[in-house]
Symmetry: C2
């Protein structure tokens, strides 16, 4: 059904019905001028916001509405995770293009809910309007943290650089989604990399673990790509960094897609971005406890990929022979002529 | 300077410099994965978000960047005010079209800061990206409230309907901005109505006053127009309402613009929207104390314009002779074929 046949007030009622009862901490949810919320006693508030715009952050050609909704929540969950905090509440502002139906909006919200619900994050408010052109989704995520947040600025020379999970799947998926699957790749491998791009998993439990663990000096999520995000961490900390590309946790499927598309798996992993893994600077002595603690708490692996250096060393990416490699710079907004 | 010459990281640094030091309650502001914030002890969190899209909510043809920034903050301040709360922190997501320069972004932030600073609201985080088409600004405003919020749902038959300040200036300004000033209107009158539309004032101090006063049963801000917003309040409260159009606080300049453009001043006041006044349902006995208390606390007048009725009476707008008048329905997103 067209949104113009429903009207804004009825659409908001439908959204309320799709989302169901408000969760803990929600005194007033969707439907008044503001949400009224309670944080856990003794915590501070975390707040982050991300704008997703059609043909900048996603394409409706291959991303379904539920995928877009999922991703809008996941990228914000990842920012809360990168502080070591617990996500609590989401606000969603949606501008829908003329052809979008009520069923499409429902699918978008279903995707958001699917990403949010496992973390007990409720969608508590928002805004809806018409968009003259593409689809626009803005999500603000509110979280809470007990104790000190994990900042980008705490890394010191001698710290180890570590990353959760794996790198490169999302960029491999994007390559396949943009250009089509190259011949010869098994369907389940294609599905794996596409899913990694369309439905990224934020490392929420891992972030909470690192937020409470000893020896984590700095943390950031890998959204713009390892090169850019490590650059952020190094700049904020006033340090240099050296990464061994042969140590990057690159799954075999990334290598298969790289081979089939004539690309470099290390580029997918170091430049591609959107893996939403956590990138950390940790004190060397804390490594064994962090690796085993994270594994037993979450099942997730953490891999050491390099070390923090003095600022004059800059950012260096070395190959297996220890020689510096020039890499692209990852995704840069405002690039162009 | 073009944003593509600066890059995202440098732009964020410039924004930090324009905004200056973070205010009270801000442990971590712009520049990390999330803001880290503290609310006043004993308060609950308020959260609201509003998306402003070019050619839906504003036109760059007559709205300067500072106007757009101002309005993006003001409309959110108004939502916090309508709960009776105190605004604290803003997050800003900005998608800038290709032709927008760093100076334009600075003007936009200057407008936001001008709207936020008088209320000690700091801009503590956000997101920046490129927009393929128009300018997009999303603001999320976080506030706090001690005690019970003022909801839309508390009105009861017999309550008086009251409104702060005046109605119609913004719609009169929009008419002039869209079609050009009709001949014969004095320049200062044209400037007054245009300013009301481009730089609306949220009733922040008034909202805080009503949030602590006795006898305020329901409150909403007049953003979509009296007809729609009173409809929201009536629907949420399960009541009807009757308004006397001859009692609406319509300034003389609205009448002058209406006359010069062949429009009805009551339409500007009741349907136009974007005045960002507060609309209240109050118990009759509380009226004298609310009027004098608001005047001495803020200098703002409050006018009784009607009364809450039984639900079966519906929404009725009467002229000076007490006869029902048919009005347009105010701004409806998703209208169209």
């Amino acid at each position: 059904m067209k949104l113009s046949e429903i009207g804004e007030r009825e659409l908001i009622r439908e959204i309320q019905a799709w989302l169901g009862a408000a969760g803990p901490g929600v005194s007033v949810g969707i439907g008044d001028d503001s949400a009224v919320l309670s944080l856990t006693a003794g915590t501070r508030l975390l707040a982050t916001t991300d704008l997703l715009i059609e043909d900048v952050h996603f394409r409706r050609r291959y991303a379904g509405y539920a995928d877009i909704g999922w991703k809008a929540i996941a990228v914000n969950l990842s920012d809360i995770a990168a502080m070591g905090g617990r996500p609590r509440f989401a606000l969603v502002a949606l501008a829908s293009p003329p052809e979008m139906t009520a069923e499409d909006v429902e699918a978008l919200y279903a995707g958001m809910r699917a990403a949010a619900a496992p973390h007990d994050v409720g969608i508590v408010g928002g805004d809806t309007c018409a968009s003259p052109d593409g689809l626009i989704v803005n999500v603000t995520l509110l979280g809470e943290i007990q104790g000190a947040p994990r900042l980008r600025s705490g890394a010191r020379p001698g710290d180890l650089i570590a990353v959760t999970g794996s790198l490169g799947l999302s960029a491999a998926g994007l390559a396949v989604l943009e250009a089509g699957a190259p011949p010869g790749l098994p369907p389940d491998l294609v599905a794996e990399v596409c899913r990694a791009h369309l439905r990224p998993t934020a490392r929420v439990a891992e972030g909470i673990f690192f937020g409470q663990a000893d020896g984590v000096r700095a943390m950031i999520d890998c959204s713009d790509g390892l090169v850019i995000d490590l650059g952020h961490l190094a700049a904020a900390s006033g340090v240099g960094a050296q990464v061994r590309l042969d140590r990057l946790p690159i799954p075999p499927s990334v290598g298969r897609v790289a081979e089939a598309t004539g690309r470099d798996p290390a580029e997918f992993a170091a430049v591609g971005g959107e893996d939403y893994e956590l990138l950390l600077a940790i004190t060397p002595g804390a490594l064994p406890a962090l690796v085993s603690g994270l594994r037993s708490a979450t099942g997730t692996e953490v891999t050491v990929i390099g070390e923090i250096r003095a600022p004059e060393d800059g950012l260096r990416f070395l190959n297996a022979q220890g020689r510096p490699v020039a890499l692209g710079t990852g995704f840069e907004h405002f690039s162009g002529p």
